[in-house]
Structures are given as C-alpha cells and as structure tokens.
C-alpha cells in the first residue's frame, strides 16, 4: 500500500468541494498529477494543489492507496465520497458528505463530521472519533435507499435524523443521539450506547434499534413484547423488546407480520 499525504496550506474563504479526495481518483497518480485535480469553491474552479501540499504517491489501484489529510479540514466537503477501496485518514474534523455513498475501504475521521455523512453508504468501514451531525447514514432527499451496508462507528454523539430510510448495514454510537432515529427504516441495525432524546423508530417497517441508555419518550406505535438476553458489540445484557411502528405498514413472512424492533437495556 502506498501513501499520499495532503497538508492544508490555506483555509478556503468559503467551503472547498473535495470530491476528488478519494483513493479511486488518486489511484495511479503521482503527487504533481494529484495537485492538478480540480477542487471547487462556488464558481471558482481551483485545484487541490492550491489548498494542499501533496507528498508521496498513490498506489496502482484504490485498494493499494492510503490518503492521509493533515491540518484543518473542517471546511472541506465530500472527502472520501463514493470510495470503493483503500484508506483515508483525516487528522481533523471534516464538513458535509464525508464518506457519502461509500462502497468499500476504510475512512477514519479523528475529529467531528458535519451533516449528511455516510449518506446512502453501501459498504466499507467509517470511523468517526468525534461527534457526527445530522442525517448520518441516511438517504439523499427523496430517496428511499438510505444506508445499505457497511459499518459506521461514532465515538461521540450524533445529531438528528440518523439512518433515515436505512435498509442495511450497522451504526454504532458510543454517545447520545438527538431526535428521529431510523425513521422509515426497512432493515439494518443501530446501536446507541448513550441516551436518545425522542422519536425512535417512527414509521419503521423493519430493522433493529438497540439503546443502552434512556429513551426520552417511546413512540405511541410501539408495544412491549418480552425481555431478551442479547450480546451487543461485546456486551451481554438483558433488554426489553418493543415492536412497531404499529401505525406503519408491515410485510408478512409466513403469514406473520414482520415488525421493526427496539431493544431497551434494563
């Protein structure tokens, strides 16, 4: 695996659109070619070279390419978007769409990420060491295809509307979450180790939400069924199982309706 290191030389006046910072675009390119890759700020067409000093070179394929970002990237959008393989490590916070529509490989952000990150994610591993904003692992507006696969792990807290229209994959949050979790979900699994404000699993058709802490208020469409023992992310514990959203349509398997499930640690 070869490594490309990008170090921020100047912060953008507005926000920099960095959809070209992915192993797939870098693959097979030398530092000077990477410096020529376009980046955008409003109507100003610029290059990555304008904003980063670039060292090292990419591997022949995405899988053989590691990208390391140094300096403050908190005003950089689209880092690691649509990446299919390889590795991206960001040593700071990033802005919107980080890891959007990610298909494979590994993406690590050592700071916070803003909203719309991991949007429509299909595969790979996305690790956020700080907090995440809203719509993490959700779908793009209007799309019914949210997170499809892969895994997102957040060490800190997450905002609202996480995993809207989730169909697969897994999200693990070590901290707390705000409102609207797994709305319209039709699959997938969400683990929240902290507390959740309100509105967990609203309009959920299928899928699982596991909460270790408290839920501010349970949706009226959920009903308690039984207690179950589960092992979740290495922790064994006893959980209360709720099914719902009973106000929502549900598919049938062998004549039996399939519900979304909330597991609340006792």
């Amino acid at each position: 695996m070869k490594t490309v290191t990008l170090t921020v030389k100047q912060a953008p006046e507005l926000y920099l659109e960095c959809e070209n910072i992915t192993p797939d675009t870098f693959a097979g390119k030398k530092a000077d070619e990477i410096a020529q890759l376009p980046a955008y700020q409003g109507k100003e067409d610029t290059t990555l070279g304008e904003y980063f000093t670039i060292a090292g070179e990419a591997g022949a394929t995405a899988a053989e390419t590691q990208i390391i970002l140094k300096g403050d990237c908190s005003k950089m959008k689209y880092i690691g978007i649509k990446m299919t393989a390889g590795e991206v490590i960001v040593n700071s916070s990033t802005d919107m769409y980080t890891g959007g529509w990610m298909k494979g490989g590994k993406l690590v952000v050592k700071g916070d990420v803003h909203s719309f990150c991991g949007l429509g994610m299909e595969g790979g591993e996305f690790i956020i060491e700080g907090n995440a904003g809203n719509y993490l692992g959700a779908s793009y507006r209007g799309d019914w295809r949210g997170m499809q696969g892969g895994i997102i792990r957040v060490k800190g807290n997450v905002g609202s509307d996480i995993c809207t229209f989730m169909n697969g994959g897994e999200l693990i949050v070590e901290g707390n979450a705000d409102v609207h979790i797994a709305t319209h979900a039709e699959g997938g699994k969400i683990v929240i180790k902290g507390n959740v404000n309100r509105r967990v699993g609203g309009q959920m058709v299928k899928g699982e939400v596991i909460v270790f802490g408290k839920i501010g208020l349970m949706m009226p469409g959920y009903k308690y069924t039984k207690d179950v023992d589960l092992e979740v992310d290495g922790t064994k514990a006893n959980f209360a199982e709720y099914v719902g959203d009973l106000g929502e349509r549900h598919p049938k398997r062998k004549g039996e309706p399939v519900y979304g499930k909330i597991f609340l640690k006792k």
Binding site: S115, N134, S160, D161
Partner: protein, 127 residues
C-alpha cells in the same frame, strides 16, 4: 415559546413594516393569565424575553386565542426573530416554534422600533 402569523401582523405588514399598525401588532408577547400571576407581570407592561440566542423587549398582553400556561406567543416579525434560534436540524427551517425562553418584568425598558431592533443587532444603529 411559539411565533405565528396573526391577521393584525398581516395587515400591519402590508400597511408597511415601519407603520404603527405593524409595531402594535408584532412587538407583543401573548401569555396565559396564570403566567401573568406567576411572573408578577402587569398586563400591557413591557417584559424582557430571553432565549438561548438573545433577548428582546416586548409588551405582555392577554389574548382571546388562549394558550395553555407555560406557552408564550410573539407574532412573527423582527421582534420575535431576535430570540428565534437559527438551528435548522439540517432542514433549512429555524426553530420558530417550540424553544425555551424566560420572561421577566422590564417595565421601564423601551421597545425598539422594527427597523432599530434589526439595525441594533447588526451593529448599524447610530447611538
């Protein structure tokens, strides 16, 4: 706290944002009678309303469109927006309705005009 349209606000707006009509219609807070008692506020006197983002002086009045105790209403407009949090939950919609505020007596503090209240916040008001 909620901020809504009212017909007076609408008429005032069309009469001109600098008009007395608009001032009278929008530089107020409507509260439940119990809250007047609880907070020791006299009707039709000025109060200071404070939220997480700022505070504004408006006149406290009772309304026929009853609210339940603990809920206040300032008609939409520059006064209300002094205290509306800009956080949008990534939807574009700020928190116009449903944010916590404190209301305290401020009888002797004047209510600024629509223009001044905005200019003041923008640091454009010549003192």
């Amino acid at each position: 706290m909620i901020t809504c349209r009212s017909i007076k606000q609408g008429v005032g707006m069309e009469a001109g944002k600098t008009s007395q009509k608009y001032f009278d219609a929008c530089s107020i807070i409507e509260m439940h009678a119990d809250d007047f008692k609880k907070l020791g506020i006299w009707k039709n006197t000025n109060v200071k309303v404070t939220s997480s983002v700022g505070s504004v002086i408006v006149k406290a009045v009772e309304t026929r469109q009853d609210l339940y105790p603990g809920l206040g209403h300032i008609p939409m407009g520059p006064w209300a927006n002094q205290i509306v949090p800009a956080y949008t939950f990534s939807t574009g919609e700020p928190c116009f309705k449903g944010f916590p505020v404190t209301v305290e007596v401020a009888m002797n503090e004047p209510i600024m005009s629509a223009v001044d209240v905005v200019k003041n916040a923008c640091g454009l008001l010549k003192k």
